[in-house]
Amino acid sequence: MTNLASRHKDEIWRRVAIVTPYLWLLVFFLAPFAIILKISLADPVIAQPPFTPTFDKQGGLSVSVDNFRFLLTDKLYAITYLRSVLMAGATTVFCLSLGFAMAYGIARSKPSTRNLLLLLIVLPFWISFLLRVYAWMGLMNTYGVINNVLMWLGAIDKPVRLMYTDFAVFVGMVYSYLPFMILPLYASLERMDMNLIEAAQDLGASRARAFWDITWPLARPGVIAGCLLVFIPAMGEYVIPYLLGGPESLLIGRVLFDEFLVNRDWPLASAVAIVLLLLLVVPIALLQRYRVRDQETAA
């Protein structure tokens, strides 16, 4: 009897465990998405809220895709999206190559030093993100640390312009997102049996060959997770381009901010957000399919 009761209880908890993430997605993703979608199909008005209602007074549906049409025809937006993809892509690739080497080094170090190194990777999170980006301003200013040191060394005669360039944004992004790449990579590399690489070498593979045959495929889940964790937030990044980027380095996060809060064109801003989401869904879906295929061949 008690056994039956406890099993019943287990069953309830099991359902709670399954339903909770779906509920979470519904409340914090699907519902906001529906609201944004609804706003994106309205027209801006100077009122409270600043957009036309979805249903007019007669109860008829009043929607338009004008905002999307505008986004697709105005070249400025297309360029901004492209610039964002390139910036996020470059950040991801650079984080991956740098992060892989670092994660590999940490995973292969002695267990005692390993924990210390991991702590050093996580340590910057103890300081506010905003402060750390400000610190980069101090480093890259015209008379900031980097320029001063370079001039003192005699490498340059007058300060190089670092701040308010795409380069500054890139540096800021790589700096901020690198830990998100290292941690999942470390997790998948740390589990790997070093004997596998020795076995590959023993069977005739050079060091490089063994890396591509063994290490890389086994690290792939970490690579995919790391790339998603870097690419997705980098696409919508607002703070770093705003603080480190120049007026000409337009990225979609900034456009989104400006449309919402400066122009108060909520419908257009919502459309921008929806298109951004679609741009993100494509690589995620591709990688997800890759991962599923990986698991299928493994099974």
Binding site: D193, N195, L196, E198, A199, A200, Q201, D202, L203, G204, A205, S206, R209, D213, I214, P217, L218, T297, A298, A299
Partner: protein, 363 residues
């Protein structure tokens, strides 16, 4: 005997730690050679130097007349079977086995032919498409063996090949290994901590301790004629008696032992002198046990009482307490089928052994 593998003064230091110390060894082609020792004795380091994962600090390694001391692992005519098996988890069994041939650039039809033959040899013909995680421990072991054999290496290195298997499977696999080795004629070098495994597998055994070879010989030599105390104690169980040499004759010596309470005789050509302190050692199964004093006066006879006994099915173990308090282990075959015990606790017994059964240990 052709020197197929030749190690000359091979040593390896890790910082201050001497893992392998000045090892000389020759192994003939087609031998199944075992390196036996406890953990940390340097046996794995020695194997890794043969595989090319460690470069010796001193000395040279030759295989088939070629100095391979500095060669990287992928250039050596040597393959290794890892203790963990180290199967590539993302590849099927067939791809695991084919890996070595693919790196060699063998043509595809040739690869598939040889992989099939190899799967047949290790009795896994229907398992080619499976992933390693879908196999049992014994099957994984066979895949690892097939993968290491497919390039037809001159030497196959096996690191604790049977350690991951359970007892029954281990016994069966031992004989499979010997058969495969015999069939292919490849020289095997096996590293193990399990003396029974070494005894059944090997044509010759090297007993290793503290980075050095303590004795190299056939299983019989190592067991029956241990060259020092370490080897005698490491392989099997042995009873030892401290004593002082009282007589040195042509072919045998007499030793008085307080522990035994009598004089012991042993055959030996070792250079011992009168009044030298030595040890006499006897294996438990070389000792006879009886209730009455044996008539054959030529044997060494000592009286004692049964301190403890254990029934193991095929044989019984006795611990006999001598007058001096010394405990002697005796093992005897249970030849007769009986429900009653031949001996009980505290029975007075005689233990005896032939002088030829005793081993003289010097250090």
């Amino acid at each position: 005997m052709k020197n197929f593998i030749h190690l000359k003064g091979v040593g390896k230091n890790f910082g201050d730690f001497v893992a392998v110390d000045d090892v000389d060894l020759t192994v003939a082609q087609g031998e199944l050679f075992c390196i036996l020792g406890g953990s940390g004795c340097g046996k794995t380091t020695l194997l890794r130097m043969l595989a090319g994962f460690e470069i010796p600090t001193t000395g040279t390694i030759e295989i088939d007349g070629v100095d391979i001391t500095q060669q990287p692992p992928y250039d050596r005519p040597v393959n290794m079977m890892f203790q963990s098996f180290a199967l590539f988890p993302h590849m099927s069994v067939a791809r695991n086995i084919a890996y070595g041939l693919r790196k060699e650039g063998v043509t595809k039809p040739e690869i598939s032919k040889r992989v099939d033959a190899m799967l047949e040899l290790v009795q896994l013909a229907d398992f080619g498409k499976r992933k390693p995680e879908q196999l049992s421990g014994g099957q994984r072991q066979r895949v690892a063996l097939a993968r290491a054999l497919i390039k037809r290496p001159k030497v196959l290195l096996l690191d604790e090949p049977l350690a991951a298997l359970d007892k029954k499977l281990r016994e069966r696999t031992q004989f499979e290994l010997i058969n495969i080795q015999y069939e292919l004629g490849i020289t095997f070098i096996v590293v193990t901590h399990d003396q029974e495994e070494a005894m059944t597998l090997a044509t010759r055994i090297a007993v290793m301790d503290k980075g050095r070879f303590q004795q190299v010989g056939t299983p019989k030599e190592v067991y029956e004629f241990p060259s020092n105390k370490f080897v005698a104690n490491f392989i099997g169980t042995i009873n030892t008696f401290d004593g002082i040499v009282t007589k040195v004759l042509d072919d045998q010596i007499e030793v008085y032992s307080d522990e035994a309470g009598t004089s012991l005789r042993a055959l030996g050509k070792q250079l011992v002198e009168v009044s030298q302190k030595i040890e006499i050692a006897v294996r438990p199964e070389k000792i006879f046990i009886s209730k009455e004093k044996p008539k054959d006066s030529d044997d060494v006879c000592i009286q004692g009482t049964v301190d403890d006994l254990g029934y193991l099915g095929n044989r019984s173990l006795y611990r006999i307490r001598l007058e001096s308090g010394k405990i002697v282990q005796v093992s005897s075959q249970n030849r007769r089928r009986s429900i009653t015990r031949f001996l009980e606790w505290e029975d007075n017994v005689w233990i005896s052994w032939r002088a030829s059964s005793a081993v003289i240990l010097l250090d």
